[in-house]
């Protein structure tokens, strides 16, 4: 396992897309230490910023990495990763696991914005909170998350699941505004509450909110009252109001909103 520890608290962003198991698995320790990263507008060797050690092969022969220290300004860890495992025992910066196609990332702290941006596979688990734009593609692009799994035990920011086209996002805490905006496919499950404008401009896919939602967009129509929702083999018990939309986009996306947590949406039942 590789052990990386930051040498000091970074004051400017560090662009570290080379910190991935793909890069580390094919290089010697010396080569890894001399990898180049940008700290602000200066290019530095990796070992100027991090202490890098190698503790020998792991049992399952998988490339693994453990990172600690101040990482909240370190961007793009695990960028485009295809295999291996990275454990981050701290807060991670933005674009964590962007474009990854395989392997796994485990964060014990919080993650920054653009977590799992345009992800294509693999698994990300965050014990704390995540910032805005979870799984969203780069600005302007419509190629959001396609496959893989993101599990966040805390809260998430705005526009999570933007342009999502597949895969699964599970949010243990609350979600902020515009959850699943422009969603094309895939599933988002929120155990907590969600702010307004859930599923704005969604075309397809499913969003399940177990907590409170203050209002549903007027471009969604109630469709059914479901006792439960099944996600793969897991069954989430409701009952749930099922809405279809976003009708402004001629969408067929489904919103499942918990009935017990949202008595103020009871008036919709008259339209069933």
């Amino acid at each position: 396992m590789f052990i990386l520890r930051s040498r000091y608290n970074f004051t400017v962003p560090v662009e570290a897309e080379c910190i991935t198991c793909d890069v580390f698995s094919v290089k010697s320790l010396e080569e890894i230490r001399s990898l180049l990263v940008w700290e602000g507008n200066r290019q530095r060797r990796l070992d100027e910023l991090f202490e890098v050690e190698y503790t020998g092969k792991d049992k399952d022969d998988e490339t693994a990495m453990k990172m600690s220290g101040d990482l909240s300004k370190v961007r793009r860890i695990g960028n485009g990763m295809t295999h291996g495992k990275i454990i981050i025992e701290a807060n991670a910066g933005s674009n964590l696991g962007a474009n990854m196609t395989g392997g796994s990332l485990l964060v014990y702290g919080n993650a920054g914005s653009w977590l799992g941006s345009s992800m294509r596979g693999g698994k990300i688990e965050v014990m704390g909170n995540a910032g805005d734009y979870v799984a969203a593609p780069y600005r302007g692009s419509t190629e959001g998350m396609r496959r893989g799994e993101i599990i966040i035990h805390g809260d998430v920011g705005n526009e999570s699941g933007n342009f999502m086209r597949g895969g699964f996002i599970k949010i243990g805490g609350n979600a902020s505004q515009f959850l699943g905006i422009h969603m094309r496919d895939g599933t988002i499950l929120v155990n907590g509450n969600s702010d307004r404008r859930v599923g704005a401009e969604m075309v397809n896919g499913r969003i399940i909110v177990c907590g409170h939602v203050s209002e549903i967009l007027p471009t969604f129509a109630i469709d059914d009252l479901r006792p439960s929702v099944k996600i793969d083999s897991e069954r989430i018990n409701g009952p749930f109001y099922r809405f279809v939309g976003d009708l402004a986009e001629e969408g067929e996306g489904k919103l499942f909103i918990s009935k017990p947590s949202n008595p103020h949406l009871g008036f919709y039942e008259q339209y069933l």
Partner: protein
Amino acid sequence: MSLIVKNGFVYDPSNGIDGEKIDIFIQDGKIVEKVDEHKAQIIDATGMVVMPGGVDIHTHIAGAEVNTGRLLRPEDHFQDVEPKTVITRSGVGHSIPSTFTTGYRYARMGYTTTITPSMPPLLARHTHEELDDTPIVDKAAFPLLGDSWFVLEYLRDNLIEECSAFVAWMIRATKGYAVKIVNPGGIEAWGFGRNVRNIDDTVPYFNITPREIIRGLCRVNQVLHLPHSVHIHTNNLGKPGNYVTALETMKCVEDLAAGDKPVIHITHCQFSSFKGHDWRTLESGAEEISRYVNRHSHISLDMGQVVFTDTTTMTADGPFQYGLHQLSGNKWVNGDVETETSAGIVPFTYHRKSYVHATQWSIGLELALLIDDPWKIFLTTDHPNAAPFTTYPFIIAWLMSKTARERTMRRINKKARSKSLLGSIKREYTFHQAAIATRAGQAKALGLKNKGHLGIGADADVSIYNFNPEKLDPSRKFITLRKAFERAAYTIKRGEIVVRDGQVVKSVNGKTFWVNPQVSTSLMKSLDDLKGRFQEYYTVQFENYPISESHLASPSSIQVKAEM
């Protein structure tokens, strides 16, 4: 400074040189007969192909439309980044690169002249400012005049001479080069939410048909003696069954032909060669178009070849772009330029496995291969509409190698493959023909006398590609061929080496060509009422409208005398 390009296989179709080993002498930016060998820098081109610098007759590289495309697509910049070097500036963009990067990328492929074909006259200033920031290549811009209210009014009243005076004034005011028509009448109709269906449909409120606009402007073009023919984007572009419209457009000016010079240039013809009733029954109309073109000499075409990639479509054809947005569901921009034209932009990806896209790919190549005379059809992608210009080497490889075509054919949509004519076409372009399609023919069609050839007195724009036609067969070694055209061994611009081994080693400024038509003072008097009407139609004052020559970084005017 003098230069000698030694021992290369020279392909200079305009001067009838076909792969002979000739030395090229360059002095003070011009090709000359002889220079002093002791004082000259010598480029050893042994085993390499030497051609005139590439000319691109139709490429959207500057202007309001391109810049709006850049604003619309941050993701396009993100996927393609070029850091700065000691010589070059940094830049971004795959399908709509920033101005400096555009110039460098053209130069790396051995291209030295580029023409931006749709400049809304009102926004000419912006276009020229961007062109000034496009290094290395020489440039020119075509103002869009097919839907200008003034032109429509003159042509409706059949005032060809007055219209000529106006067009001359407009070309001078905008520092333009030729007359560009986009969807004649259709753009004006789009202002009222409508379009024209064929070339005899009436334009609302103007009581004029596209046929009258095309014929009128072709006659204006002849009156003014403009170096290029009328450059037209046909009606019904991008709609199944539109090959009929393209044929009618060509036929409607058949009687205006005079001598060898084409009267009309049908641009990105691939988009105008669709047969069928809808997208499901879409078929190639290349056979019908090429049969007509082979029998007539009043037309030139360019391909508008599709390459399977992510790109950005942008034209002045607002209704077409609206349709494309509806079809694809992609984000879009639609704009209106006062009394002149409209514009639309939609990002688009051409997929190999899509029947329609694969058929489009096939149509472009069929046109280029079925039209016998390479002086009539030129290589373009209508950058960035069918693909970015950086894909030209792929197209050259497809044209010069049947194997390359077959290799791609194997991977495209099955139905498109079975319907495509390509499998039965054995023709392969020679280097001579490729040189016509990529430089000589385009320069001739544009009337650029010092471009596209290596004769004495020509501008010393030379490109050298590392491919030995004596040892390697381009038909089999198409990947080597493609790579050679991707990275020119040398690009020489006005006698200076700007690219070596595919790397920009010097950045120079290219010129902007513009045409200055001389019209008799008595006829210019007919424009006396223009000022008043201008006040009525435009948001800009008449005096503020023209661009002075001093506004351009390095202008080069071409004087032409109107026959009036």
